[in-house]
Amino acid sequence: AAGMFLRLLSDLQWRAAHPKWRGMTSPRRSTSTTAEPHPVSLPAQAQVVICGGGITGTSVAYHLSKMGWKDIVLLEQGRLSAGTTRFCAGIVSTARPMSIELKMAHYSNKLYQQLEQETGVPTGYTKTGSLSLAQTQDRLISLKRIASSLNVMGIPCEIISPKQAAQLHPLINIHDLVGAMYVPEDALVTSANVTLALATAASRNGVQIHERTSVSHVTVQKGRVTGVETDRGRIQCQYFVNCAGQWAYELGHSGEEPVHIPLHACEHFYLLTHPWTEPLSSSLPTVVDPDGRIYIRNWQGGILSGGFEKNPKPLFTEGRNQLEIHNLQEDWDHFGPLLSSLLRRMPGLEALQILQLVNCPESFTPDMRCIMGESPTTRGYFVLAGMNSAGISYGGGAGKYLAEWMVNGYPSDNVWPLDLKRFGPLQSSRTFLRHRVMEVMPLMCDLKVPRWDFQTGRQLRTSPLYDRLDAQGARWMEKHGFERVKYFVPPGKDLLDLDHSKTFYKPDWFDIVGAEVKCCKEAVCVIDMSSFTKFEISSTGDQALESLQYLFSNDLDVPVGHVVHTGMLNEKGGYENDCSIARLSKRSFFMISPTDQQVHCWAWLKNRLPDDSNLTLEDVTWKYTALNLIGPRAVDVLSELSYAPMTAEHFPSLFCKEMSVGYANGIRVMSITHTGEPGFVLYIPIEYALHVYNEVMNMGQKYGIRNAGYYALRSLRIEKFFAFWGQDLDAFTTPMECGREFQVKLEKGTEFVGQEALLEQKQNGVYKRFTMFILEDHDTDMDLWPWWGEPIFRNGRYVGKTTSSAYSYTLERHVCLGFVHNFDEKTGEELVVTTDFINQGEYEIDIAGQRFQAKAKLYPFSSLFTQRRRKDEVELSGYQRE
């Protein structure tokens, strides 16, 4: 019964609104829902087949057809805008913490606004605005951070008092509120009709839409999509787009070559009421009360209200299941706490009569971000799914990005945070997904403070030293399934529990990390960095060298035993990866990249290396434990353990040598540290890990050795102005823009990917510049801490955002890294950024609405270094993203 009402509703509207479109598909919808012959047969081939007629599928079809691709078939197993789209609440909200999500939502809003005019289909678009309420000061801070982001994007947005909120929505009880955020341009739509409008426009542009056609699997040959098998026959195609919503995971696994799309459905409930005695105005703003875990919008004179409970009910863990579909009933007991919350927020609604409780499953992903992009293993297989209950808000923008991706080879913005390739098979276990989404769904409403970690699905990939480190007080975070140490809590010291440690201010680990940093600078520390992705590339002849010279911007034709820091660039010169490559022999190379590059980098290389059986690429990540010895005494520890001289004359910086450490032979030692401090990274075959660790710790005792974690590493690398890929660097950043020209060898004698773009930048200058900021009037104890994503102002005007930040224990100041642009004052056009432009500005960083003066620097403080080195030696790259 839950679905029936809405189904009738939208069918009625559909019939009234789309006489033209009806004729183009089939006349069957005017009769009953019983099966009928399909009047239009499927084409035998098409360029693109899209599976899924919800908001994402139609949005992709719409944008592809707008961009000139016409030979497109969209298949829907039921009817258009069925599934989650039909039932969703229709709220278009731009108040999103992540910049790329915010951009997608903003675009969607603008798209839907003009859609009715464009297509003639009434979409129910109403600009009502939205009110996000804060019951606590912390919540207000998080709203202020979003408001700062919205403002610099030119989206109107205001932080208002509870009283002002009450004026905007008279039903709100404001007694427990400390403030609110008002976004006047947020809107409501009838989601099913937006979908139909997009379908109508796509159809006019030539897209063929076939309902009641289900895809059984995708056929693949030689790693490329060749066609689609459906219950109505086969379609040959070059591109397949999986927009199957909560069924995307299963569809991904249905083919011979699985495409891992980690998402999982959860039941989601919302309430519909009859109209109020005096019907509520359709212009009342939507209310989001995250502390109460609910949202409330006006709906046909009554309200629609749902939320994200603390105890979600995951479903379809074992795949599509008729019984479970059948059992999707109203569960009032489950909805009870949300109803309490609703009546607390709007006590006046008590007398409002219930129409129904809708149970509408939504799909969630392991990191709360949607999934888009091309499969790392199957070319031509694209995905857009896992909208985490924000399908309407993101659908428009996400569809545009994916269409651009397919047509141009890459979207117009950095979508790495949403890229399918951030996941791999390891996030695809059903048990993992079930457990993780039960954590993710409540998180939709939970306060997101800097550096929170997921608690479920942990301890999947661990270093052999895990137990040893854990016993010594390690506190863990996870990256790509790998457990990594944040810091070590000294014996006898207690930290706050998880809930109480959430803060936007100075965290409780401040002194702990400070002590670790100090030890890195004065003695020696060990950091387990085993999570990094490690590949070996070798060949029988010169193939490995030739291929790498083409794929990497630095010169890799170096003597054996040398380590080269280099970007793996795309055609636009942007960083697809940032890595260190050691030449092990004439014909083999060892490559270290960030942890979350495991899938992306593999796919990038696989797709570009020549298909030559004499050239092998191997993922050896699991074979080595990596120990990073940082600090001035690392030399002493290592030379005592190996009986080999380790001083700079014998073991210069950026050098790699296999040697013995303790009893263990064949340890790959590299003189790099990822932080700029002196030291080494030891790549240890895993069975020796415990032995080498024990030896290092025993020998290190007299040099004051201790364990350290990634937080210390981050502080060190940021105060040294080292950019990390995934955090500071992305596919839209070139080496020229981040002061890494020295890692590009334009004249190395061979062509390489991105060379042309870099040459052009070299001649014409760059349009953004990676800059280091030292906060001047910021009180570490009292003020809000920067995180990343804070707007940067130059002479009072917005010029860019920070990408990472840390407290520098050496400078005793906060350091933020970020990009400075030069927007033309009148046109907003991007202009060349020169050194003078950077140096001649007065800077401020905006943290949750409060601006702090900052000093800009283009080069790191040389005085911070314990010993003077060549410039290109100290500009080491690092790899990880917080």
Binding site: T273, Q329, E330, D333, A351, L352, I354, T431
Partner: protein, 451 residues
Amino acid sequence: FYLTPPQVNSILKANEYSFKVPEFDGKNVSSVLGFDSNQLPANAPIEDRRSAATCLQTRGMLLGVFDGHAGCACAQAVSERLFYYIAVSLLPHETLLEIENAVESGRALLPILQWHKHPNDYFSKEASKLYFNSLRTYWQELIDLNSGETTDVREALINAFKRLDNDISLEAQVGDPNSFLNYLVLRVAFSGATACVAHVDGVDLHIANTGDSRAMLGVQEEDGSWSAVNLSYDHNAQNEHEVERVKMEHPKSEEKSLVKQDRLLGLLMPFRAFGDVKFKWSIELQKRVIESGPDQLNDNEYTKFIPPNYYTPPYLTAEPEVIHHKLRPQDKFLVLATDGLWETMHRQDVARIVGEYLTGVHHQQPIAVGGYKVTLGQMHGLLTERRARISSVFEDQNAATHLIRHAVGNNEFGTVDHERLSKMLSLPEELARMYRDDITIIVVQFNSHVI
């Protein structure tokens, strides 16, 4: 003097323990979902004991309650040792050989039992070597006896009970050079304990009972109501068969003196028990052991006292009565409890209270609005009331605790009266035993998906 509800709870929950059979891949393939257990002392210290363990070398799970008398020594020993005797009795010949060889060559022993113990359930460290040696002698005999037949659970249970009681008796006769142990084995033998043990393996449920603790099956009828099925017979004066048995085993001349005031020889309530050598040994043996025993034993009037009309010992046996039951889908749970519970509650009430506790929440009818006119406020009130009802049930996370709460706190209407509960629990130690007995309960929940 008045206990607040949290104080009452902390008393009731002090000994509660729950065990859930671990699931594999989200599914429990065992016929047992898990069990809840709890104890409420009246004696100080408590004389009841409980045990639970999973057999590791054979399939099945063992659960038992033990009611001690004349001290807790015997109940303690039985609670530690009986399951090992049962497990060994069930082992196939090859496994026994393997274990013996391991001991012989000093290799690590295959673990036989995985215990599920509350932190307060202790094992005697001092006696473990002695107990182990006795157990080893038992399995060595089993190896020598090798009958080649597969082990029958009923026989294994009977053998284990009898063997352990025999070992308790022998250890007391032989004594131990260590004076602490010597006193311990004598205390074990001169005190007594009943035992009610369940062995669950798939749909095969065996109950071995010695004494007046009781096993009861909770059955859900088709209409959803609950009924109780006894899976043990009390061995006491109320059981005619038991009185008959005792009379059969002794000359006609003793008929009148055998059972007096519903007690064996006018002294002992249970008609079967472990230990209690005063009812098993000849007078000469008793005197000899006591005289050569430590002073503490000689000073104890109870041990020196010979029961009246004591002509043809033994009068008491530890041999259990074994009942086999094939679990059916409607069999939802098993309650094992010492007589402290059964004195205060009728088994029918026990079945109902546990049954409703275990399923109560799930069986609450879901609310559907349907075509009715319901306002948000009305719905909110309804849900709040339902939640309150659920939370009062869920005040106890443990079915055994829930049952004890009812056993101690029930008023004439069959509902828990907090005032009564508070009074009963705040009785001074010396008075408590007059109003109630030690209560020990294990509630085993069966897995209807498997049965």
